[in-house]
């Protein structure tokens, strides 16, 4: 049995942004939901003015461990996740060694359990060593203690069409999904930024939209042909949104993800040559940003995934062409989505819950995540102050990465508390303690 997680009464939170209600949390579940609940023996949290949402689930996180503990560890990355309102993250497979065996995914899973900040769900590599040549032991990873359901070579595209077809077919055996990093490699050799007006002026090699769109078009047709489940990572172009919309209309089993940075930032920022804006896929144009927002609002894009990618500072304090690609995102995702989708009137908080919790949990097949905030459900809850505004300071984040492209921006929305299976990992906007089921002592320095 799980150790006791205490009793908490959340008083007067606007559930999914709707009418205020009380939520009584006991033994890891929502014991009661109602008005004027008794606080007998419970720690009361005054949530007037706060929005209660289901704990967020990230389908796309780079925790860097094992192998690049100078960039991030499971401990630091999951602290960042908890502070960002997450109760589950999918750890991408491009670690060193690559998460392409049951041993490595179980190691990452155990590190997540030991940290106790969120549920860490390892993603398994599709191919051995991400090399794109032979299938990794997908079944062994699925059967392992980590119960892997999502497989991805993220960072690299599974570009061989036969290999992609086989992967899509094979994961049907255990209800898996292939999450594709859609990037045609020949069209993007040496690519540095979005190919268009800005790259022409800056003299940086272009990453054309067609390199993403052509792979997505191929993959949705493959998924249809073999009757499998496809997830498209970090969709970044207007054309990709159209292809996915078309595929969904045909009944193809495809889900898609957009990152917070692609919902807000454009390639105009690259004019500074500041590598904090270097990311893969690259920042696109304003027309793409608008299409991505519309796609997320109308359900063409199912989820927001952070693609949180911390890097040591020396990998960004250099020439653009030398810099690593990637941005941190766990601690800014909620605010950026509020800013781009809710404050613009494109979505409600209920929609927010769908794209950041219910839909990503469904894609990853996480049974106890993304659930409604009702009595009897697991108590994965985040309390948000939607009226708060804050200025992003990467040096005050829990992630080891200082590479936030939102540095210096004022953003709305602040996570006040995060409950992970009934335990507050975040309280009063500050990190509290890991879940008591964590193997290591709470409040490690």
């Amino acid at each position: 049995m799980a150790p006791s997680t205490g009793t908490y009464l959340i008083r007067g939170a606007a559930v999914l942004g709707g009418e205020p209600a009380d939520l009584l949390i006991r033994d890891g579940i929502i014991a009661e939901r109602g008005a004027g609940l008794s606080d007998d023996g419970a720690t009361v949290i005054d949530a007037a003015g706060l929005v209660a949402l289901p704990g967020m689930v990230d389908v796309h996180t780079h925790l860097r461990e094992p192998g690049r503990e100078d960039a991030e560890t499971v401990e630091t990355g999951t602290r960042a996740a908890a502070l960002g309102g997450y109760t589950a993250v999918h750890a991408m497979a491009n670690s060193t060694p690559v998460a392409d065996t049951a041993g490595v995914v179980e190691q990452v899973y155990s590190l997540g359990k030991a940290a106790g900040w969120v549920d860490v769900r390892p993603v398994g590599a599709v191919t051995v060593g991400l090399a794109g040549e032979q299938l990794a032991e997908l079944g062994a990873m699925a059967d392992s203690r980590a119960r892997v359901r999502m497989f991805s070579d993220d960072g690299i595209c599974v570009h061989d069409p036969v290999l992609m077809r086989r992967a899509l077919e094979y994961v049907k055996a255990f209800d898996g999904v292939v999450a594709q990093h859609a990037q045609e490699p020949r069209l993007t050799a040496g690519a540095q930024m979005n190919e268009g007006e800005v790259s022409a002026v800056l003299g940086l090699a272009g990453w054309p939209a067609v390199a993403e769109e052509s792979i997505i078009a191929r993959d949705v047709l493959l998924a249809q042909h073999v009757g499998s489940r496809l997830h498209v990572c970090h969709v970044s172009t207007a054309g990709s949104v159209e292809i996915i919309r078309w595929a969904k209309q045909r009944g193809i089993n495809v889900t898609a993800e957009v990152t917070p940075h692609h919902l807000l930032l454009t390639d105009e920022l690259v004019r500074s040559y500041d590598p904090v804006y270097k990311v893969n896929p690259p920042l696109r144009t304003d027309a793409d940003v608008q299409a991505l927002r519309a796609g997320l609002a109308d359900g063409t894009i199912d989820v927001v995934g952070t693609d949180h990618a911390p890097h040591p500072s020396e990998h960004k304090e250099c020439e653009w062409a030398q810099a690593a690609m990637g941005m941190t995102g766990l601690e800014t995702a909620l605010s950026v989505v509020q800013h781009t989708m809710i404050e613009t009137g494109l979505m409600t908080w209920a929609d927010f819950a769908r794209v950041t919790s219910a839909a990503p949990a469904a894609i990853g097949r996480l049974a106890d995540q993304g659930r409604p905030l009702e009595a009897g459900e697991p108590a994965n809850i985040v309390l948000v102050d939607p009226a708060a505004r804050w200025t992003v300071d990467p040096f005050r984040m829990a992630t080891m990465g200082r590479n936030s492209p939102f540095k210096g921006r004022e953003l709305p929305g602040k996570v006040v508390a995060t409950f992970y299976l009934g335990h507050p990992t975040v309280l009063d906007g500050e990190l509290n303690t890991p879940h008591p089921s964590a193997a290591q002592p709470a409040g490690a320095a």
């Binding site: 540095q192 190919e195 268009g196 007006e197 800005v198 790259s199 022409a200 002026v201 800056l202 003299g203 940086l204 272009g206 054309p208 500074s272 040559y273 500041d274 020396e314 304090e317 250099c318 020439e319 653009w320 062409a321 030398q322």
Partner: protein
């Protein structure tokens, strides 16, 4: 002027100020003692992450004619081998007391990084970055064109612009920092620019540039050209399928003997032929064209020193006044006192 990073952000007034200052500097080059004390005690570092003897010696000559101390720093590291970090190198130069850094780099934007970060406080001159810009090359090209254009008009170069001049730039625009810098600067100075290239060697997005684009060199020549600039074509482009063969390239886009005769046939007796060098004779330009009286190749090299003297002088003299109020040097041809440099 704190830095000279690109011509895109260079105002017309500043561009003309640099060109006018270069005219004054050019007069120094005609004297027996080709030296001014203007930058005595100042240190100019030539920081080259990419080999370019031509550009380096041009800057070196410019700095020395202004009496500056010159340090040449050939940094290791390329796009494939990482080598010297830009940040560490910059901080080292800063500790050595560099007043200006002339940087040549294979990576687009490297000079911007130096100027934007706190790694070094010196003035930065972009001596060519990746496939981005090469502003002093464009300035020396414009200087050369302006002299020619003013002479045809029977006026002085000083203060003049390039209004109405028809300039064609032919070759590998996609990978050319020279083309980019020229397009922005020539437009700023009032010239009408046409880029001529195979479609594979034009960047996506070129349609937004302030110039015309042509795939046909003969059509462009037939419409009338006052300055014809040929760009160097790297042989390696052929292996990447940018064009089928060097022979086909030079037939369609090279300035060959036939096209040299075309200028005569069409009565364009004053059209000049330019090349930033080094030339691939027989590929983008024929030997006869390169050596003809129309060719300004050597004048461009000579003018390069004057333009770079002007850039260094304006960066290091601390003169941040708006241009067109006072001449930079008290009187053309006279030797300014060292006081002005401090």
């Amino acid at each position: 002027m704190k830095h000279l990073l690109s011509t895109q952000d260079l105002s017309r007034a500043n561009a003309i100020r640099i060109l006018d200052t270069a005219e004054e500097m050019s007069a120094v080059g005609d004297r027996e003692v080709k030296k001014l004390p203007a930058l005595r005690g100042r240190t100019v570092v030539n920081l080259f992450f990419e080999d370019s003897t031509r550009t380096r010696i041009s800057f070196e000559a410019a700095a020395k004619r202004l009496s500056a101390d010159v340090i040449n720093f050939a940094a290791k590291g390329s796009s494939v081998s990482k080598g010297e970090s830009l940040k560490d190198t910059a901080q080292t130069l800063s500790a050595m007391g560099a007043d200006a850094v002339v940087i040549r780099h294979w990576a687009s934007g490297a000079p911007h990084r130096l100027a934007a970060t706190d790694w070094i406080d010196a003035g930065v001159i972009n001596a060519g970055d990746g496939t981005h810009e090469h502003p002093t090359q464009a300035l020396l090209d414009a200087f050369t064109m302006r002299r020619h254009w003013a002479k045809l008009a029977g006026t002085e170069s000083e203060g003049a612009n390039l209004k109405g001049m028809r300039v064609a730039i032919a070759g590998d625009v996609l990978h050319s920092r020279v083309a980019r810098s020229n397009v922005w600067l020539l437009r700023t100075l009032g010239a009408e620019v046409t880029l001529v290239a195979p479609p594979t060697l034009l960047p996506v997005g070129v349609e937004k540039w302030p110039c015309a684009v042509s795939y046909n060199l003969d059509d462009t020549l037939a419409q009338g050209v006052d300055a014809m600039m040929m760009l160097r074509v790297q042989g390696e482009r052929m292996n990447a399928s940018y064009f089928p063969s060097t022979r086909e390239y030079s037939r369609r886009w090279g300035f060959d003997d036939n096209r040299l005769r075309t200028l005569d046939r069409l009565g364009m007796k004053d059209t000049i032929i330019m090349h930033p060098g080094p030339m691939n004779r027989g590929l983008e330009i024929s030997a006869a064209a390169a050596d003809s009286p129309r060719s300004t190749v050597l004048a461009q090299v000579r003018n390069g020193v004057s333009v770079r003297m002007a850039a260094l002088y304006l960066l290091l003299s601390g003169d941040t006044r708006e241009p067109a109020t006072t001449p930079v040097l008290a009187t053309a041809g006279t030797t300014p006192s060292t006081k002005e440099a401090n």
